[in-house]
Symmetry: C2
Subunit: 216 residues, 2 copies
DNA sequence: TTAATAACTGACTGGTCAGTAATTTAGTAA
DNA sequence: TTACTAAATTACTGACCAGTCAGTTATTAA
C-alpha cells in the first residue's frame, strides 16, 4: 500500500549482532534483565525474535555479549597516559578522570555500570569477569596514578584503596544515577562548574602542600 | 515423625507483614524485583504464598510497601542536629554523614538504595515518591549544613548541588556496591582508616582557609 | 531466467509463576 | 468438649514468554 513503507526483510548479516546488542543494552538498562522481553529487543533492532536466535544462543548469552563487548579496550589509551604524563601527576589524574567521563560515564557505556550493579547477583560469573577485566584494572590504573603523585611528593600518602574510591565514586555514581533516576531528576546534565569544582575539591584533598597563597 | 520439627501453621497475624517485607527486601536486592518469586519470599518468611496474599494485594504492592516502610523517619534525628550544631559546621557535616552510614548505608536500609536504582525505570511512581520523600529531603539537609558553613566563613562558596554530590556520593556508592558486588569483592568491610581519610579529604576541599601549619 | 542457498519470519509449545479459591487447622470462648 | 472464627495452606488456573521450527523471501551463481 504505502509506497514509503520501511523496507522489510533486509539481509544484513554483518550489522545484526551489533544492532541487537545495542537494543538489548538499552532495554536491559531501562527495565532490567528479567523484565526485558526478547520480542522487544528484536523489535527495537528492527528484526523478529527468530533472527535474534540466529546470532545469540540464549537470553543469557545475549547479556554476556552485551557486557563483554562493552568492555572495549579503552584501557590502552588510558594506560598510555600513565607513561606520557609521569611528570605531572595532577594533570595525569585529571585527564584520566575526565577521559573516563567523556568516553564512558557520559556515553551508553555508562549504562553498563548501572546494569552490572543491578544484575551482578543473578550473573555471578559475568560479574566476576567484569570485575576482573574492567573494575580491578581500572582501579589499579587510578591507584598507580595516585602512587606516582605520592612518590613525587605531590600527593599526601594515604590508604590507596580509600583514596581511589573517594576520587572515582562521585563520577561513577553520576553515571549510574543518570541511567536510573532520569525519570525523576529533571534534565540530568552537569553544570559547567561541575568539573572545575570536582577537581578543585579532589586536589585540595590530595595535595601534600597547602595551596600557596603566593605571598613573595 | 521428627519431634524437633519446626512448628508449622503458627498464627502470628501481627508479625507477618514485617517479616514478609524483610524477606522481600532481601530477595529484591539479591535478585531484582522481576526475578524474585513470591513463593520464595513466602518461604523465606516461613509462610506459604497464600499467606502473603492475606497481607499484600499484589507483587507491586509488596514492592511499594518495602520501599515506603524503609523510609522511616530517621530525618527527625538528622534535622535536629542542624539546630544543635549550628556553631560547628564541620562537626555538623561529619556527624550527619557518619550518622547516615551508621543508620542507613551500613544496614539493610542501604540495600533500598541499590534496589531503587535498579528498579526506578519499572516503578516510576514509586521512584518519584522515594525521590521526593527521601532523596530531595536528604540532599536539602546536606545542602543546608554546607550553606551554614559558608555563611560562617568556614567553607568556601561553591555550587551547592555539586558539593553535596561530591561529599555524599562516595558513601552512597559504597552502600550500593556492598549490596551488589559482594560476590566478587571479597569481605567488603571498610578499613579503620576509611572515615578519617574520607573526612580529611572532604574538609580539605571544603575549608575556606588553608590548613594551619601551626607556626607561632 | 532459474536454481540454490542463506537470512529472516512468526505461529507455536512447554514451562513458569502471579494470583485465586477451596480446604485445613490453630486458637478461643462457651 | 464443642463450636466458631480467622489464619494459614495447598492445589489450581490462566497469562506470559523463552526458545523452536517449518515456511518465506532476498541474494547470488549458473
Amino acid at each position: 500500500m504505502s509506497p514509503l513503507e520501511v523496507v522489510r526483510r533486509q539481509r544484513r548479516k554483518e550489522a545484526r549482532p551489533a544492532e541487537l546488542a545495542a537494543a538489548a543494552l538499552s532495554l536491559f538498562i531501562e527495565k532490567g534483565f528479567a523484565a526485558t522481553r526478547l520480542d522487544e529487543v528484536a523489535a527495537r533492532a528492527g528484526v523478529s525474535k527468530g533472527t535474534l536466535y540466529l546470532y545469540f544462543d540464549s537470553k543469557d548469552a545475549l547479556f554476556k555479549a552485551v557486557i563483554e563487548e562493552g568492555v572495549v579496550p579503552l584501557f590502552e589509551e588510558f594506560e598510555a597516559k600513565l607513561e606520557t604524563l609521569r611528570d605531572d601527576p595532577e594533570r595525569l589524574l585529571r585527564e584520566i578522570l575526565q577521559g573516563w567521563w567523556d568516553k564512558v560515564g557520559s556515553t551508553d557505556l555508562g549504562g553498563i555500570c548501572k546494569l552490572m550493579i543491578s544484575e551482578a547477583g543473578n550473573f555471578p560469573e559475568v560479574a566476576r569477569y567484569h570485575h576482573d577485566a574492567v573494575i580491578v584494572r581500572w582501579m589499579a590504573l587510578l591507584g598507580r596514578a595516585y602512587a606516582i603523585g605520592v612518590e613525587r611528593g605531590v600527593f599526601r600518602d594515604m590508604d590507596v584503596e580509600t583514596v581511589r574510591q573517594l576520587v572515582f565514586f562521585p563520577l561513577l555514581m553520576q553515571a549510574v544515577w543518570k541511567n536510573s533516576m532520569s525519570c525523576c531528576d529533571e534534565t540530568r546534565s552537569l553544570p559547567d562548574s561541575y568539573f572545575p569544582t570536582y577537581f578543585e575539591m579532589i586536589f585540595r584533598g590530595l595535595r601534600a602542600a597547602p595551596v600557596q597563597e603566593s605571598r613573595p
